[in-house]
Amino acid sequence: MSEKFDVIVVGAGPAGISCAYELAKAGVNVLLIERGEYPGSKNVMGGVLYRKMMEDVIPEFWKEAPLERPIVEQRFMMMDKESAVTVGYKGMEWGQEPYNNFTVLRAKFDQWFAGKAVEQGALLVNETVVLECIVENGKVVGVRTDRPDGDLYADVVVLADGVNSLLAKSLGFHKEFRPDEVALATMEIIKLDKKTIEDRFNLEENQGTTIELFGDATKGILGTGFLYTNKDTLSLGVGSLLSGLIKHKIKPYELLEYVKNHPMIRPYIAGGEPVEYLAHMIPEGGYKSMPKVAGNGVLVVGDAAQLVNAIHREGSNLAMKSGQFAAEAVLLAKERDNYSEATLNHYKTRLMSSFVGQDMKKYKDSTHHFDKFPQYFDKYIPMVNKAASQMFTVDGSSKWEKQKKIWRDVGTAGEKFKLARDAYRAWKVMK
């Protein structure tokens, strides 16, 4: 006989686990289904965990969660082929409780986080694929898994099945995503001695650095790279829109090899041993690509709802928040004993009026803008590098002459106008 739960959450990532955790804590009978061998085994991110949203789920989690390093410094590197202009901020206040954010390795962290949901009373089943939602009379009433006697029923099914959510797609909540709505990121985890990492990145024990890479890191294709410090490994990766990879006929791992050999990066990773290779899609379509997030008996959270802020490389925090809001909506529906779309839409209202929805709206054009105008990445970043080089090279010419030359190098009057226009446009999509 098929079992019935109050709620079935599909996918044990930050969104799904947060949702299951909150529901179990409230005494709801919740089943969390994960396709991997254990939660985290198939989950990938560059590695920055934001303290605030995690803390909203589990207060003072840093005292027991498997974290790598609290981040005390964030750098941004605008790279040309053999140079880089770097800006950054380092502050000791980030190195103390309650910290700002942390680097994490998802395979460890998600496993721990799911364990906390289980402690609250959630039931976790791994190595199981949900094939489809069971729909009766226009209502989602359960899920069909790939296991023998694998149909399971629930009042609400929460889809936290990640980017490209096939379950939401089969419900008609979104179409197949276009190549300019998803990025593909590849990364390596590179083992290095703890002390070497601290020396190379100018860190003390229990301090971490993140470096975001722009420009030549992705060979001028729209995208970013990153280099993060873990305890005794580095996470180095690059991601760019699928459309860009297709247009430039570049394979994702070639991009990773390129950045590994880049003179600005090479010294950081020298002597390191790659211990893991990971790749994952990132939903970067933003607000305009968001699917329908609530239906009769069903909610969509996290990456499955395209909740990623590509400009600020945020995703897991939006996912957690969405999981919490979904739990809130389920509790409301339970109270009213009404699991219709109208009731569950409470989730959408909460989501869109929170920072999640606000940020999704604010940056709704950003990815599309930078995708449409590649000059930001392939022209202006090299220009900035050239300008810096000219300004800081001591060659006997006056600074006044240097400034004139830099301005001349921007190009003709027409090109200068274009630069001003692009700067204005960029400001407009980011403002």
Partner: protein, 279 residues
């Protein structure tokens, strides 16, 4: 009604594990812990026999608290109950001390329900000895049937079983009285994808956990490191053989080439201290 006990162990996945080049020991942190693959077949066989003859399947393991995961895996396969003995006093046990501790646990399980059959995997993939099963059989005075690849028949009323034992050149048909212990080959069965019912049961399941103090008539000197006379004098990672030659062509050509090669290199087959191979 049969009561079958399957003895299982959580092991590091040796397909992935790395060796520490300095100490020549396994770096256990480098590989995930899994249910010993042979033991999955042991549990599956127990579940099949239960389906054929009726009864109960209990699994037993000795290990640290995380080994509960391996028991849950067995519940997924279809076991009814799980028992675990876990205590610092068991640490560092070799096969002799392990078989002693497991025997004490089986004696305790027998008090709950008499045991008709004990099934073990052929061996563990981290120790590769295959000694614990026969060790338990000896201590419980049961016939040990190793390398079993098929259970032909169990006659519960008359108390005997007929099994096939794998040999290098065929198989052996053996009839044994019950209760007995058998260790099984992988080919005895295929472990199917577990049903959702079993998955949910496993997710909810908490095994019975016993410490040394919960077991009866235990001689502490026979436990753990103290009770382990085995001395590991040296461990090393074998070097990977390299080179090799591919013989190409159709079957006849390949046979011809192989034959010539073997005749050419007959010194390879000369037994040390024995006579040369004639042709």
């Amino acid at each position: 009604m049969l009561h079958i006990v399957a003895c299982i162990k959580q092991v590091p996945d040796t397909k992935i594990i790395k060796m520490n080049p300095k100490t020549n020991t396994m770096d256990r942190a480098s590989a995930p812990a899994i249910l010993n693959p042979y033991d999955a077949h042991a549990v599956e066989e127990a579940v099949r026999l239960k389906k054929r003859y009726g009864g109960t399947v209990s699994v037993l393991t000795m290990g640290p608290p995380p080994a509960v995961k391996a028991i849950k895996k067995c519940i997924e396969i279809g076991a009814d109950e799980g028992y675990m003995i876990s205590d610092r006093a068991f640490a560092g046990a070799d096969t002799l001390a392990t078989s002693y501790a497991l025997t004490k646990a089986i004696e305790k399980i027998s008090q709950i329900q008499p045991v008709d059959l004990i099934i073990c995997g052929k061996m563990t993939i981290d120790g590769d000895t295959g000694q614990v099963g026969p060790g338990i059989a000896r201590r419980l005075d049961m016939p040990p049937l190793t390398s079993v690849k098929k259970v032909k028949e169990i006659n519960v009323e008359e108390g005997y079983a007929i099994v096939h034992r794998k040999l290098e050149d065929g198989y052996e048909v053996i009839q044994s009285t019950m209760p007995f212990l058998m260790s099984v080959e992988k080919e005895i069965n295929d472990v199917p994808y577990s049903s959702m019912t079993n998955m949910l049961k496993a997710a909810r399941y908490q095994p019975v956990i016993w410490a040394v103090a919960d077991l009866e008539d235990v001689e502490r000197t026979q436990l753990g490191l103290k009770g382990s006379p085995t001395i590991v004098s040296k461990v090393w990672a074998p070097t990977k053989p390299s080179g090799g030659e591919m013989l190409e062509g159709d079957a006849a050509e390949q046979t011809e080439k192989l034959l010539n090669l073997l005749l050419e290199k007959k010194e390879l087959f000369a037994v040390k201290g024995g006579s040369d191979v004639e042709h």
